[in-house]
């Protein structure tokens, strides 16, 4: 069972598109996958997956689940390739709510909420907001693994150090109370790559500068059909089936299939040997 959070402190690097398309690729491999949307903003994973109304719906929400007044399986949506826990706009006030109520386990709410269902899945993928806040803390602690999508630019490279600082600080502090806790970086995913010389230079320098972080041997190209898939509220695999892709765009499908293989292997050595660049 793999639990991972797709996160970067930079916005717009492709966290949500990575989450939904990796989830779809895993699901199409026959692996039971749960996507968890923790981002309260309207343009999040739930909207991309075709459930924008869930963000403002009445009734039981992810916020109720995190606060312990409802069970997670009450809100899971079964989609074609994956199951989805939709986010809700009320998540925006979760931090103030738990502080006001003095809930001392605020950072562990998602881990507790997931416990009853994790055995039902091969993979749990969490998509939190970019901004470091309580929702990100919950995602990091609940998953224990981070996948970092990165645009291959100087700015993108600078954002990696911020993620690594957060991961290191959280892991070291929490290990004082829970020595068995680990928070691993599964790797950096080169995303929105257009093959420019700058992309290549950044990739090379990233591999040289980050000894402890693997740059995944998967490259997701930068094609605007991804935006069309978002508009159509479809993952790229379903978009390809329903609307079609140009031949060159099919490398997107290969990239997410390769990423799914890498995540399924869940072993750094095995990832290296099973994934083609």
């Amino acid at each position: 069972m793999t639990k991972l959070v797709i996160w970067s402190e930079s916005g717009g690097v492709g966290k949500t598109t990575t989450a939904i398309n990796l989830g779809a690729a895993l699901g199409r491999r026959g692996e039971r996958t749960l996507l968890v949307d923790l981002d309260p903003q309207p343009a999040s994973l739930s909207a991309h997956a075709g459930y924008p109304e869930a963000k403002t719906a009445d009734g039981v929400t992810i916020t109720d689940v995190l606060l312990g007044t409802a069970a997670l399986d009450e809100i899971i949506i079964e989609d074609e390739s994956f199951d989805l826990v939709p986010a809700h706009e009320s998540l925006a006030s979760l931090e103030s709510t738990v502080r006001a109520e003095g809930i001392s386990t605020a950072e562990f709410l998602l881990r507790s909420a997931l416990d009853p269902v994790v055995d039902d899945y091969d993979h749990v993928i969490i998509d939190p907001p970019a901004t470091l806040n309580l929702l990100v803390d919950n995602a990091l602690i609940a998953s224990g693994n981070v996948l970092i999508p990165m645009e291959m630019t100087r700015k993108g490279k600078q954002s990696i150090s911020g993620v690594l600082d957060t991961v290191g600080a959280l892991e070291s502090q929490l290990q004082r109370a829970q020595p068995e806790f680990t928070l691993d970086v599964l790797g950096v995913l080169p995303n929105k790559v257009d093959g420019s010389s700058l992309n290549r230079a950044v990739r090379e320098s990233l591999e040289e500068d980050t000894d402890n972080v693997e740059v995944l041997p998967v490259t997701v190209p930068n094609y605007n059909v991804m935006e069309k898939a978002w508009d159509a509220q479809l993952d790229i695999f379903r978009y390809a089936e329903e609307r079609g892709l140009r031949a060159y765009q099919e490398s997107l499908l290969d990239a997410y299939r390769d990423l799914a293989v890498a995540i399924s292997a869940n072993d750094p050595a095995e990832r290296q040997s099973t994934v083609n660049d």
Binding site: E101, T105, D137, T166, G168, A169, L174, R176, A177, Q178
Partner: protein, 112 residues
Amino acid sequence: MSKKDRYAHLGNEPDGDTPAERPADADGRDSEVHITIDDGNERTTLTVDSDAASIEELRDAVRTASDDTSPAPLATGVRSMLATQRLVFNMGITGAVVMEQVASTPFIYKPR
């Protein structure tokens, strides 16, 4: 605030001890007491460090907590927990308070 400062509280229990620093029980487990409260509509589980109170003390405290006038510290603590969880608690109605001693979990509340 640095990121290390942001997460500093996660390494400490309320009194500054950590499970790693605290002696384990004779059976080798850090022990805590889980209190599951069922008011007929919802269930919630609270966890209390067994260093702070025994199961019997907590059971008495939960019973006493239905009496709002009790000044007992444990009863006050339990009332605080119940208020925090926004539970409607009435022993006479719910009739279901289950306590069990379990292995260590990170969720620790010390009624002081």
